[in-house]
Structures are given as structure tokens and as C-alpha cells.
């Protein structure tokens, strides 16, 4: 499944893709991630979506480069995470600001390690600026 994007408000967009052991660079510059939805219903084991705040210049060595986000998606399940991040308790939330870029992949192990992608398709939608 190729990466496809559609805008909905200003510069915000939905980015749909199949996530696997190929690192996808969704942004080569600073970006904001407002939320992520992951569908792991096609698999019988947990999948782990990983996000790196980096760009193609910095690169990602899957299994070695330390991810900034690790998200376990249960076998046969889905997950939706909105990122409501604010400067103070009563400020308007802004989303997760990545200062360098946005790279994403999906493997079958948590933490930093893991280079094996899921057996069946894991689909993700990221809401970004």
C-alpha cells in the first residue's frame, strides 16, 4: 500500500500507509503528529509501530536506531492514540512536535530492536501537520 495523503484543514493531513519493516520517511522536516490509528487485525501476534524524530539525512537503522515512540498493537486488534500535548494544564493541546522529521516502521518486537516486519498487512493512519 503506497503512502497516500489527503488534507482536511490548512496544512493538516491524513497519511495512510501500510507499515512494515521498511522505514517510511513521512516528513523530512519538523512535523506535528496529532494522532495515529493502527490496524493489526490481520495478524495473530502483537505488532510494534515505531516512530523516529529524524529525517533521511539522519536516517534510521532499523533495529539499532533508538525510536522516540514505541506502540504495541495487540494481536488482532486496533489502537487509536491522539496526542494532546500542551505547555500547561489548561492550554490548548498542540500534538506531538517532532523537530527534525517523521519516520515510521512496524516490526514484531518492542523497544529498539527488531527487524522483522509483521506477517500480514498492518495499516496505519497518521494525522500530521
Amino acid at each position: 500500500m503506497a503512502v497516500s495523503s489527503s488534507g482536511f484543514l490548512g496544512t493538516s493531513q491524513f497519511v495512510d500507509l501500510e507499515v512494515n519493516a521498511t522505514v517510511e520517511f513521512l516528513s523530512d522536516a519538523a512535523a506535528i503528529l496529532h494522532g495515529i490509528f493502527v490496524d493489526n487485525t490481520q495478524n495473530t501476534v502483537d505488532s510494534f509501530v515505531k516512530i523516529w524524530d529524524t529525517n533521511t539525512t539522519g536516517g534510521v537503522n532499523l533495529g539499532t536506531t533508538v525510536p522516540d515512540l514505541v506502540l504495541r498493537v495487540a494481536a488482532g486488534g486496533t489502537i487509536f492514540l491522539p496526542f494532546l500535548i500542551a505547555a500547561a494544564a489548561i492550554a490548548n493541546p498542540e500534538g506531538w512536535a517532532l523537530g527534525t522529521g517523521l519516520a515510521v516502521a512496524c516490526v514484531t518486537a518492542g523497544g529498539t530492536g527488531g527487524t522483522t516486519g509483521p506477517t500480514n498487512a498492518v495499516k496505519a493512519t497518521l494525522i500530521t501537520d
Binding site: 525510536p67 491522539p82 500535548i85 500542551a86 505547555a87 500547561a88 518492542g110 529498539t112
Partner: protein, 134 residues
């Protein structure tokens, strides 16, 4: 190793369903272990990195493990808590920890990292949990 600083409060969701709010006022490299004494479902995370001491982004790590070794055990979830920010993550029906929930906070993401926030910096985290996995 710091003294555990978590506080718990139970609340009723309706009928006989009871939830628990756990607050750790000083999340650091010393893991809080199996905070619900068994399998549980996490429905909400709220974490803050807004102490005045100069520092950097921190990484909140959640383990489906009764006794993880921070820096070695593979975390199941890693969330960056940016400097001077409060992170609020509602999880809807929740995410299940089939063994139990343990957590810690260190200065790097991924698996490695054994250094927690500086002594004068407080990372706070609040979790809303339900007992069991269903």
C-alpha cells in the same frame, strides 16, 4: 534508587466496575512494579515534564512485565514527554497488560537508558486503570 512515590485512588465507574487512578509524583529510572498487582487495562495517561530545573525530553516506558530491568527489558510502549509539556493520551477502551503494568522514566527512548531525570526535576504521571483484561 528512589523511594516509590505512587499514590492510588479507587473510583466507581458504574455498577460494580471499579477503576483506579495511580499518580507517581516522581517518575524516574527506578521502575514502579506491577502497579495493579496483576493483569490490567490502561485507559488514560497524563504525564508532565514541567519542572523548572533545566533538562530535556524524557521517555516514559511501559512494560507488560512484573519486574523489568530498566535499560535491558524491552518496553512495550515508549512515549516521549517533551520538555515543558504535559502529555495527555486517552486510550478509549484501553490497552491491556496481560502480565501487569510496570513503568519508568529515563532520558533516552527505545530499550536502553538507565539515567532518570535530574534529582531536582519531577516527572509526574497519572494512569487510569481497570483491573483484569476484559
Amino acid at each position: 534508587m528512589s523511594t516509590p512515590t505512587i499514590t492510588k485512588a479507587d473510583f466507581l465507574l458504574g455498577g460494580d466496575l471499579k477503576g483506579t487512578t495511580i499518580r507517581d509524583a516522581d517518575v524516574d529510572e527506578s521502575p514502579e512494579l506491577d502497579v495493579m498487582a496483576g493483569p490490567c487495562r490502561l485507559t488514560h495517561i497524563r504525564a508532565g515534564n514541567v519542572d523548572s530545573a533545566a533538562d530535556a525530553a524524557m521517555y516514559l516506558k511501559l512494560y507488560d512485565d512484573l519486574n523489568p530491568t530498566v535499560g535491558t527489558s524491552v518496553p512495550d510502549y515508549v512515549f516521549e514527554i517533551p520538555l515543558n509539556k504535559i502529555v495527555d493520551i486517552p486510550l478509549g477502551a484501553g490497552i491491556v497488560f496481560v502480565n501487569g503494568l510496570s513503568f519508568a522514566c529515563v532520558t533516552v527512548g527505545g530499550t536502553v537508558g538507565t539515567t532518570g531525570p535530574v534529582a531536582t526535576k519531577l516527572i509526574t504521571a497519572n494512569f487510569t486503570l481497570l483491573p483484569g483484561v476484559s
